[in-house]
């Protein structure tokens, strides 16, 4: 029992991290109808920026070893993501208003490679670490209930908490604020939004900024777990099944989808894996996504594709 719960919780924690990346996809898709392939590259870019600034800034201002240095690095990396968002809008999206989805998709693929390239030439391409001072030591819970208790990683727990707060804030933003409503309007119909005076350019900068910040948070958490390296940009591919499962347009869907996939991967690896020789973890998510595409293409919580007959 204890082992099962540990696997389950491990899956939930991993799922939370997938969710963070998936969230970036959902935000941009929701607000601009663009499937942003560059999300993974943005995570990498943000993580690289964070890792390097956390190294440089304390050196410049003599803040070694203090939280202030880390906080300053986070702020600077955040600002950098704003600049990236603004540049993307200015140089790419502005010229592609009202173009086909496929055109925009290709554009984001291009953005992904440019970001990866610029990221590694600005910040270097070796492996870096991010240390934001999260506690690494595991704790035992429920020692009275089970023999041996449950082994839980504190770091994972905090990461999950951060993700949950982020999602809560974003949901409020989308449902309750004027800007959030305008973002949803733009997602539904660019042209109509433009015709009633919603400036697309500003909306896009806002949404890419928000996605950039989410990428930064995801990058910091992933980076502090696994180290910052080039392969970080492929976490985007791991998050693809999550968005398909949860629905491309649903913020809570990204979270639930992430959790399901995280848990499913771990449990299937542990319990079904031995029967088929292991390795399920790698493809489990994709098979699940495929099944969803067949039977519920809008995902668990996605907006129904409404067609009037």
């Amino acid at each position: 029992m204890g082992f099962f719960l540990e696997t389950l919780i491990g899956g939930l924690m991993a799922g939370m991290l997938y969710s963070l990346v998936a969230l970036g996809f959902v935000l941009i898709f929701k607000a601009s109808g663009v499937f942003n392939f560059a999300q993974g590259a943005m995570v990498l870019f943000a993580a690289l920026a964070m890792a390097r600034f956390a190294e440089w800034i304390p050196g410049w201002f003599g803040l070694e070893g203090s939280y202030l240095g880390t906080a300053a690095a986070f702020v600077v990396a955040g600002a950098l993501m704003f600049v990236v968002a603004w540049l993307i809008e200015r140089l790419v999206l502005r010229h592609l208003v009202n173009q086909e989805g496929a055109t925009l998709l290709m554009a984001t693929l291009g953005i992904a490679y440019v970001l990866e390239g610029v990221g590694s030439s600005l910040f270097g391409s070796s492996i870096y670490t991010i240390d934001v001072g999260m506690p690494k030591d595991p704790v035992f819970l429920f020692e009275g209930t089970f023999a041996g208790g449950l082994l839980i990683n504190k770091e994972d727990f905090i990461a999950a908490l951060i993700a949950a707060v982020l999602v809560g804030l974003l949901t409020l933003f989308f449902q309750k604020t004027t800007t959030g409503r305008a973002l949803r309007a733009v997602a539904d119909d660019h042209q109509a939004a433009q015709s009633i005076g919603i400036p697309l350019n500003r909306i896009w900068v806002i949404v890419w900024c928000v996605a950039g910040l989410v990428a930064l948070v995801a990058g910091v958490i992933w980076g502090s777990k696994l180290g910052v390296q080039f392969s970080l940009s492929t976490v985007a591919l791991r998050a693809l099944p999550v968005v398909i499962l949860g629905g491309l347009t649903s913020v809570p869907g990204a979270i639930i989808g992430g959790l399901i996939i995280g848990v499913g991967e771990k449990l299937s690896e542990v319990y079904i894996g031995p029967m088929v020789g292991g390795g399920i973890e790698i493809w489990f998510a994709y098979v699940l996504a495929l099944v969803f595409l067949l039977f519920r293409p809008q995902g668990l919580f996605g907006e129904k594709i409404i067609d009037r007959v």
């Binding site: 009202n98 004027t178 305008a182 949803r184 309007a185 042209q191 109509a192 009633i196 907006e303």
Partner: protein
């Protein structure tokens, strides 16, 4: 029309799509403050393009005003963005309604107030006013727009534009795909808004009969040119208009067998 109260003046504009396709070949017209002006004509005559040129939505369609000028209250507006124009009180209701399908009717209406900075109370006041003009919308306020009927969507689109408190609304083909009864209702509300709220309307319509009944003045477009203009009553009484657009002739209903195409070419296109 005296020149003093001209709200919008379009001077022989030429519009080219994709740098090659010439759609408007010198269209000129003017809209007086507080008037209802109709742009009439068949498919591809250039009505929608004209409206888009005024509201500056051409850019997204890869179109461009290459010649001529558009003036709002004697001020050139070709270089403004659609959002700037909405702030100056000119808003377009696009052809085919274009409601935000996944937003509720009320949310749709509220997005229309995006450019306003005069506070929540004023916006709610306008919302109530829109509901008083379109009581049907109030009963459907929380349904997703995509699930409402075509007529309700058209009303939602017009209501959404009114939420910006415009002085002028460009209304593109409000009758499209609607039952005649609903068309009557929509046009009736347009007339009401014009008389009670003083909103100026520029209307693009294929439904010549209906448009001339509610407009004060009309321009007939054909092949990207204005071929005829006049007070709505005169146009409705004009023999050619009757024959070409209303399907009537002096000898009562005419058989399609006898419609002479060459005649209209000879008369209107040089």
């Amino acid at each position: 029309m005296s020149t003093a109260n001209i709200l919008l003046r379009v001077n022989s504009i030429e519009v080219i799509y994709n740098h090659v396709i010439l759609v408007l070949k010198g269209v000129s017209f003017s809209v007086p403050e507080g008037g209802v002006v109709a742009l009439l004509g068949g498919n591809g005559a250039g009505k929608t393009t004209t409206l888009r040129a005024v509201s500056n939505l051409l850019h997204g369609e890869r179109g461009e005003v290459t010649k001529g000028s558009i003036e709002l209250r004697d001020e050139r507006i070709e270089a403004l963005t659609p959002a700037d124009l909405v702030k100056r009180g000119v808003i377009q209701v696009m052809e085919g309604r274009h409601c935000f399908g996944h937003l509720s009717i009320e949310e749709n209406l509220l997005t229309g107030a995006y450019t306003r900075r005069d506070g929540k109370a004023a916006i709610n006041e306008t919302l109530e006013k829109v509901y008083s003009y379109f009581p049907r919308l109030k009963t459907r306020r929380s349904s997703q727009a995509a699930y409402t009927s075509g007529g309700e969507q058209q009303m939602c689109a017009v209501g959404r534009a009114l939420m910006a408190k415009p002085s002028m609304v460009l209304l593109d083909e409000p009758s499209m795909g609607l039952a005649p009864q609903i068309v009557d209702e929509v046009f009736g509300i347009v007339k009401d808004l014009n008389q009670k709220e003083g909103v100026t309307f520029l209307l693009a319509e294929q439904n010549t009969n209906m448009a001339l009944r509610y407009a004060d003045f009309g321009y007939i477009l054909e092949n990207g040119r204005v071929v005829m203009e006049g007070a709505a009553k005169e146009l409705a009484a004009n023999e050619d208009v009757k024959e070409f657009y209303l399907g009537l002739s002096s000898a009562g209903r005419k058989s399609f067998k006898d419609v002479k195409h060459y005649r209209r070419r000879k008369r209107w296109l040089s």
